[in-house]
Symmetry: C2
Subunit: 260 residues, 2 copies
């Protein structure tokens, strides 16, 4: 049903649960993304209480926003299907991509400190999100220790992810950065029960460039080089990882020597 509704290819419909009419409110308990998302670690009755706050928003069309930088943070969001990016627009109006987000990822965590969104989240393709009203979540956190723990785990994990990004941006050549990104996208597919290898890039080259701090031309050239070397096979936005070993070698190879 939802699958039909969203009209997405099968791999983007992971969180769909078949059956009843009003599954909107009871989505978490049956959602296949549970273990990546807020419900992980909760027992049955706790999940039911969580479900009572969560609502599934209207689908978001490609290019449309879920929330905007500067918005009052009235809710957190979880990606349910599709793919999103988070961006910051600076004073000069330039866009910086901060991350790409897939089903199960929580959005808005960076705005909890001052109840304000510091980045915008927008869909890279037709997507759906779950809305988790913040006030009610905040109240529930004091009642359900396991929910509190899981949210903190997710925040801690987000910090870790940022560190990993910082690491790869810091030490790697442009091929290394692209290699890292491709491996990361591939790994995220595996976490969601999908095949590791044909990775579809939902974002355009300019988004990749912004995220990896390079120019679109460089992205293009590096992808080409990786293809020529027989490491990937590239067809528009579909990347087939032919030689994961060599890709990992690139990702691990530090561009610079140590200083100390």
């Amino acid at each position: 049903m939802l699958g039909v509704r969203t009209g997405l290819p099968v791999e983007h419909c992971m969180p769909v649960v078949a059956g009843e009419m009003d599954l909107w409110r009871r989505a978490c308990g049956r959602c296949s993304l549970q273990r990546l998302c807020l419900p992980y670690g909760l027992d049955g009755s706790d999940i039911m209480r969580l479900e009572q706050l969560v609502s599934i928003d209207n689908p978001v069309a490609c290019g449309h926003v879920v929330f905007e930088q500067g918005d009052y943070l009235s809710a957190l969001y979880a990606v349910r299907s599709g793919a999103m990016k988070s961006v910051i627009i600076d004073e000069d109006g330039l866009e910086q991509v901060l991350g790409f987000h897939y089903p199960g990822d929580l959005l808005g965590l960076d705005g909890m400190a001052d109840r304000q969104h510091h980045c915008s989240a927008l869909a890279l393709e037709h997507s759906t999100v779950c809305r988790i009203p913040f006030e009610r979540l905040d109240a529930l956190l004091d009642e359900l220790p396991s929910l509190r723990r899981q949210l903190m785990r997710l925040m801690s994990q987000a910090l870790l992810d940022d560190e990993e990004l910082l690491m790869s941006l810091g030490r790697k050549s442009s091929e290394g950065r692209i290699a890292s990104l491709l491996l990361s996208l591939s790994h995220r597919r595996e976490l969601r029960g999908l095949a590791a290898t044909p990775v579809r890039l939902a974002m355009k080259r300019a988004d990749l460039a912004s995220f990896l701090r390079m120019r679109t031309e460089t992205i293009s050239r590096v992808l080409k080089r990786l293809q020529v070397d027989g490491i990937i096979r590239l067809d528009k936005r579909d990347v087939d990882i032919v030689d994961p070993g060599q890709l990992r070698a690139w990702a691990g190879r530090s561009a610079w020597l140590a200083d100390q």
Copy 2:
């Protein structure tokens, strides 16, 4: 007392409370860093309960570690005086600096997900830290909603800080990155009630280089350029910000143009 004990210049002794003998256990309630740290937002009796877990560790000598990458996360730490850096050592043994930390900053947040430290924290100068045993903190979080909220605020803020760093690494020329860092260090001084301008760099050039993803030679050259332009005055590790306006201009100036 503590001030004498640590033998630090006055500005590094911010959290010191004068008077009684065993103030170790009652430090939070009187600590001048309260509003930057865990106790913020707690009422008197809650602070007392927090204090019961917090202990002040032995001073850490310059270059020594508080915890090491890979260690079991038995506690979080708060910087009490001095300055620290957090680093990750990768497979090849190369060190990447992830951040610099000042009194009131919480360390170890990125390891809460899997109860394991993912980076090492070491002192850049003689420093003291407060130790917050994780098990007991975790238990207390379920009892004190305001503590739970403050910890989440701090984690959210840490995410925001990472985003800001990613922004500046992404868009700025090498002068811009150094300008951003100097302004950030200066701002942190202000947050702690110190004068904005003479900023002392507790870290060596190699640390700055690793953090800002450049080479020590480049750091050297850029600092020189900023001095020649009359924006800063540099004396070894002391930086006097002569023209904050121009420094901000550099920090804000994007190195690259937008794409689309």
